[in-house]
Structure formats: structure tokens, C-alpha cells
């Protein structure tokens, strides 16, 4: 599955693109690099990559603009490389369509895992079907039923909606705003508390230890990420 998968790496630091190029190539990916958003976009149209990894701050065209351009034309996964002090931009970029982010400095193993997970998501993109089975979870929308490792769990309608959305976007970083829009249908208000309360309720029902969540993980000051387990 891997070999022949095309990855576009965008960063204005040549030694970083070189590391990524070498490492991904060793894993059998096809790689092209660009050092700013403009060049990246040209390559995107010409080469049609399966996944884009981009830095945030670059000359000419930054990561945010690139992300919006790519997203308006395609559904391919986008992973953002960011530094810790770009929190605000991170939220913005996730909401404008990026799938995930990795904070610099990162381990290559971590980035490779994120890439694999993002690619898996697109190849097995869950259809809006009635039944979703992913990891430890089995969700039946028609019967309004949830099973974790085979054990039935009772959820309120809102909790059910949230879990359903999380399962369909497993592995992705989801901002408070995205969850708010998905579960309450509101995109205008920024009420992270509403989301937080519901997340706490849901965790109490699905997590083995709600204090140390393994499925519904917190992404500090960004939102949440759902990992359905193996």
C-alpha cells in the first residue's frame, strides 16, 4: 500500500525537508519537496500527491493559505508542522481543513505514525453508513446502540452524537469549534465549556479510567483527538 504513495513536503528549512525526504523515501514513499506555499501549490496541481506535510510560516505563501487552497480542491490529508507558540494558528489551520499537526521538534517515528494513520483514514474513509466498527468500538446509528469491546454502553442522544462524530473522524485533531458545530449545529458561538462538559460525561461512560483517557484524548488548548484502539 505504501509504495507509490506520493507525499509533498513543504518547509523553508532545506535540512528539514531533506530529512523528511530521505526518511520517507526509505519507507518507499515517493516524495517531492517545496520551500514555500506557492511552489507547493504548483507541485500539487502537477503531481497530485496523496498527502501534504507543511510548515506554517514560510515566505511567499504560508501553511495556512496553502492548506485552504489544497482543501478547496481535494480531500487529501494535510499534516501541519508547527512550533508550540503558534497555538492560535494551529486552531485556525485545523479548522481550515488540516487533519493533524506535529509539534517541532518531532520524532520521525511519530510523524511516520501520523502519516500512516492519515493515509489509512482516506483509504478506509467511513461512508456515512448506519454501522461503524472501528477499533474497540461498534456504533449502530439506526438502533442507537454502542458497544465497547462487545459490552453495551448507554449514552444520551448528545453523547451518542458526539461519539458518532468522533468515530467518523478518528485520529484527527478536532477543535472545540468543530465539535460544537457537529453536535449542536452551532458554528457561531465559541463555547468550549459546553463541549468540555459533554466530553467529561462521555469519558465517564467509555473510558476505563476517565482521569487518564485513552480513547478521547485532550489536545491542550486545541481540542480533542479520538483514538478508537486497536
Amino acid at each position: 500500500m505504501i509504495s507509490g504513495t506520493k507525499i509533498l513536503v513543504v518547509d523553508d528549512e532545506p535540512q528539514i525537508t531533506e530529512v523528511l525526504r530521505t526518511s520517507f523515501a526509505a519507507h518507499g514513499y515517493e516524495v517531492q519537496v517545496a520551500d514555500d506555499g506557492k511552489i507547493a501549490l504548483e507541485i500539487f496541481w502537477r503531481w497530485r500527491p496523496d498527502l501534504v506535510i507543511t510548515d506554517l510560516s514560510m515566505p511567499n505563501m504560508g501553511g495556512l493559505a496553502l492548506c485552504q487552497e489544497v482543501r478547496s480542491a481535494s480531500d487529501i490529508p494535510i499534516i501541519v508542522l508547527s512550533v508550540r507558540d503558534q497555538e492560535a494558528t494551529k486552531v485556525q489551520i485545523l479548522e481550515s481543513g488540516a487533519d493533524d499537526y506535529v509539534t517541532k521538534p518531532f520524532g520521525m517515528d511519530e510523524l511516520l505514525a501520523r502519516v500512516r494513520s492519515a493515509l489509512r483514514r482516506t483509504s478506509t474513509m467511513p461512508l456515512p453508513s448506519e454501522v461503524v466498527e472501528l477499533g474497540d468500538f461498534l456504533l449502530d446509528a439506526a438502533a442507537h446502540r454502542v458497544k465497547i469491546k462487545g459490552a453495551q454502553v448507554h449514552l444520551t442522544p448528545k453523547e451518542f452524537d458526539l461519539l458518532s462524530y468522533l468515530l467518523r473522524h478518528a485520529g484527527r485533531v478536532l477543535t472545540h469549534k468543530m465539535l460544537l458545530a457537529a453536535v449542536w449545529g452551532r458554528s457561531f458561538a465559541d463555547e468550549p465549556d459546553t463541549v468540555r462538559v459533554l466530553v467529561r460525561q462521555l469519558r465517564r461512560k467509555i473510558e476505563p479510567d476517565p482521569a487518564i483517557p485513552t480513547y478521547l484524548q485532550t489536545e491542550p488548548s486545541i481540542g480533542y483527538r479520538f483514538e478508537p484502539g486497536k
Binding site: 531533506e18 530521505t22 526518511s23 526509505a26 518507499g28 517541532k104 521538534p105 520521525m108
Partner: protein, 430 residues
Amino acid sequence: MSSGNKTTNLLYESHKTGACFQTAGSDIHEAPSVRFGRTIRQYLRREIVGYPASALGVLAVAFILGPSYPNVRVLTAANSLLVVVLLVALAWGMRPAFLASFLAAAYLNYYYVPPIGRFDFHIDGAEDVVGLATFMVTSIAVGQLSLRMRRRAEENRKLYDQLRATFEQTSQIEAIKRSERLKSALLDTVTHDLRTPLTSIKAAATAIIDIRETRLASPENARAAEDNLLGIVVQQSDRLNHFIEGMIELATIEAGEGKRTAEVTAMDEAIGAALARAGDVLRGHKVIVECQDDFMAAVNAKAVTQVLFSLLENAGKYSPPGTTIRVIAESNGENDIQIAVEDEGAGIPPAIREAIFDKFFRGDAAKECDAQISGLGLGLAIARGIVAGQGGQLWVEGRKRGENGARFVFALPLQGRDGLRPTGAEVPSK
């Protein structure tokens, strides 16, 4: 050397927030002696002082005029006393002036109103009435005037104090703001310059581990990839080290400021050393050196080479390949030598000619000009620090009219007193 010092001092000021507003406010604070003088004046101006002063004034008149009493006419005596009343009213206001008036009237009464030589407390003579009235009117009029004046002076002083307080506050806020801005800009730069190579190193190292563990690639490919990644680790470690050395150099310059060392240096050798160091960057350029073979000067050779290297490196980086870079060394008057590096690049717009020397304003500069120039790193800040440390100046200017490019110039004073002069180059008499 002031601007150079400022550049390097900023680094330190940004660490100890608040150190700079003392300097900002110091010139509006008064000297202690001035304040002491004002306190004395205020004390003497108090009304209570006016009463003994009145008595003293009248006594003084008596003391001066008394001995030649019979020959002093009443008009002279009255006028003298009037002056006393006037001065008292001017200095202490109406009430002490009243006392002076009564004393003056009593004096006139004693000496000039019969019975002469003793007090006659019946105020019925024309002289008595006119004398006392004159003194009283003078007291009131002058007293009021001086009161009004004093009030206005007081108001002015209050206004002035307010203004000064506001000004001090503003400059303090300004200083804090500037220091905050510096701190965050410094932090930005340092984190960026540290994190970028660190990111490459970590990514490369973990990629090597990953390649070994997963054994995905063919052995030769894996080997080639590992070599490539290890090369990046080494190169980026050097970059980190280079950055740290730059920071240390900056700190050393700051700490050792004022310590100037010099030896008689052949300028062409110093220039040659800098050119050799900058060789990589200058490969695509034509370099012309204008320096007399026997130009000797008593300067710090290391400093010259280091500064020149930074300037050459920038000239090489920021002017298009194939263009000419010119190094011109000459003496400048009797006490200075001057070295200029001219390039044929885009030049530095006047608006940022100061800012480029301050690494910590790089963020702002980047917004104003194109990405290339914003890449100016520690180099110029260090260079200016070195030049300032040697008592010289480093600046940038445009080239001669009609020529494109930047001209970076640094002037260094010749060290030592006796006989250390440029021997080779003729000292032009400008």
C-alpha cells in the same frame, strides 16, 4: 560609540527589566543642591519670617540714618522706610508689611513729629496720618500683588510638576514597553535559531533509528539514507554551535567593553584573512581590494578581521552572483582608519539602516522588507558590538549617486598615544 553600545546594551537591558528607565528619567530629576536651595527659599518665604524681618528693616534704617539724625530730612527718612515696607510686602505679603508700616510710622513719629524724641500715640497730625496711610496703602497694594504673583508661580510650579510626573510616567511605560518588545523579539529569535537545527537533528536521529528498526529499505539504500541523515546531524550540530558561539561572542564583547587591545597591523593581511574566511560565500563574486601594500595601523587585528568577515559574508549573501564587491581601506584624518565594503546589491533602504544592526528588531524589519534581508542574523549586531568595543563606529550608507548597492563602513581609532600612526599610507590632510 554610543549607538554601538546601545545595541549590545539592549540585550542586557532586556534581561533586567527596568534598568533602562533610570537612565530615561535621570535628566529630568533635579540635582540635590538645586532642591536644597529651593527648600531654603521656601523656608525664608514663610510669613512668620516676615515679622522679624520688618523689625530688622526698620532698625536698619534707624541704624543708618540715626547717627546723622538732625541732618536727615523727613522726606529721606520716610522714603527709606517706604522702601522697607515695600520690600517686606513684596517678600512676605500684607500682614508683615502692616507691622513694618506701624514701625515706620512710629519711627517717624518718634523723630519727626513733635514732641521730638518721644512717642506720641495720638494720631492727629497730618504727618502721622499721611505717613501711616502711605505705608498701609503700599503694604496692601504690594502685598496683594505679590500674593497674586506667588499664587501664579505656585500654580505654574504645580503644573510643571504634573507635567514632569506625566512625562516620567510616559517614558517609564515607554521603557517597559520597549524592554518587553525586546524581550519577546529576543526570545523569538533565540527559540527559532535554536529550534530549527534541533528539529532537523531530532528528526534525522529518529529517522535513523526508525530505518534500523523497521529494516524496510534494501541494505544499500538504508546505508545511503543513514549517511545522508548523519551528515545532516553533524551539519546542524555545527549550526547550533555556531549560534551559541555567536551569543557567547556577543556577551564577551559586552563584558569586555572598553578593554581595547591593539598591535601594529598590516591592513592588507587583516583583509586577506577575512577574505579567506568568507571564501565560500564570495565564490560567485568579483572582489576588489583597495589598500596600500604598506598600510600599517595600530588596531585590533582580530576585531578588524571579524568585522570585515561579517560584512563580506553579508555582501556575498545579499548581492547577486557575478557582481563586484569592493573593500576599501584608508586612513581617515590623523586618528582613524576607515574600512568600507561596497556591494552592488539592492542596497539598504534608509528607513531600516539603523534597524539592521539590531538583531532583535529583525521581526519588524522582516515585515518591511523582502525575506532575504530579514535573514540578517547575529552578524551585524556582533560586528557593531566589536567595533564599539574598540571605540569605533559601524554604519551603512548608500553608494555614490547613480550606483546601486550598500556601503558598510567602519571607522576605528588608532590605539596608543606615542607614535602609533599609520606608517605606510599618507595621512591625507582633510
